[in-house]
């Protein structure tokens, strides 16, 4: 099984919030920044990669039941977003990689035998 925890150690991601839920398993990847669009397209157990960092990100993640959110390219995250992700048990991660590079690396992880 592929989990958020496994992803964090493999990609050396920064765990910003939601540690309680890093046992979530992951199925696929979704990349998007237009929240209303993400809302209607993201799937359950997706790793969602975005550069948006406002509190609505947590709401969309909760609604879409994603396994975790990765903030790409080291974008700064608002304090309220971190607090809410902690409350909602949504793993909020960060990386300096671009969304594309993250997706490539996650794909390698998902295809591991």
């Amino acid at each position: 099984m592929r989990t958020v925890k496994g992803l964090i150690s493999r990609l050396d991601l920064e765990l910003v919030a939601g540690e309680k839920a890093i046992g979530n398993d992951i199925k696929s990847v979704y990349i998007g920044d237009l929240l209303s669009w993400v809302m209607s397209h993201v799937k359950q157990k997706d790793v969602w990669i975005t550069i948006q960092t406002n509190i609505n990100v947590v709401a969309v993640a909760a609604l879409g039941e994603v396994s975790c959110v990765i903030i790409a390219e080291g974008a700064e995250i608002e304090e309220i977003t971190i607090k809410k992700a902690e409350q909602e048990d949504i793993p909020l991660l960060r990386s300096n990689l671009s969304a594309y590079d993250l997706a490539v690396e996650i794909n390698k992880y998902l295809e591991l035998k």
Partner: protein, 181 residues
């Protein structure tokens, strides 16, 4: 949302749910001030201060089927991300006014989108509500209101297919006349 018209539709649907009988949509495009303002005003139920303080919190919703409601939260974020501002005024029993402004030339500002489709969708959603739509573009103005249209139509329903089709064309042409590309 990819178009601002979709935000307008979303906010106006809140007004309908709040039993408004009159809804005003006012859009102002000012190129010199580099400002786009969208105002949606209704005479619906309104909100008390407690509710008003919570409506742009994405984890607040009046819906019971899920625990997050994002309409106003997204609209607010969209405005703020485009160097704009967002404000809601409301009084219980009086109505609610939502005002969002944007830097007109901001690269992340979504295009206006299809306003004629939005207005017709709203009329279809509830034909008894009186809608007025005013669109200012610099010194030009386009005005539309269902009360006047209904007066002309007399016994013909505003939701007749041919009427709706005509309205769509009328609004589209009216807007083309005032909004300079």
């Amino acid at each position: 949302m990819k178009e601002l018209a979709l935000h307008i539709l979303d906010v106006t649907e809140n007004s309908i749910k709040a039993h408004a009988t009159e809804i005003q949509i006012i859009i102002k495009e000012d190129i010199i001030k580099d400002l786009l303002t969208i105002e949606i005003k209704d005479n619906g139920d309104g909100m008390d201060e407690d509710t008003l303080a919570k409506v742009t919190d994405p984890f607040f919703t009046t819906r019971t089927t899920r625990k997050v409601g994002l309409g106003l939260s997204l609209f607010k974020t969209t405005a703020l991300q485009c160097n704009g501002a967002f404000k809601i005024n409301s009084k219980k029993g009086k109505g609610t006014t939502v005002v969002a402004s944007f830097q007109h030339s901001h690269i992340d500002r979504a295009p206006m989108g299809n306003m004629e489709e939005t207005i017709v969708t709203l009329i279809t959603a509830n034909k008894d509500i009186e809608y007025s739509y005013t669109h200012f573009s610099n010194n030009n103005k386009f005005e539309f209101n269902t009360m006047e249209i209904k007066k002309i139509l007399r016994n013909v329903e505003i939701t007749e297919t041919t009427v709706l089709f005509w309205l769509k064309e009328y609004i589209k042409e009216g807007l083309q006349g005032v909004v300079k590309k």
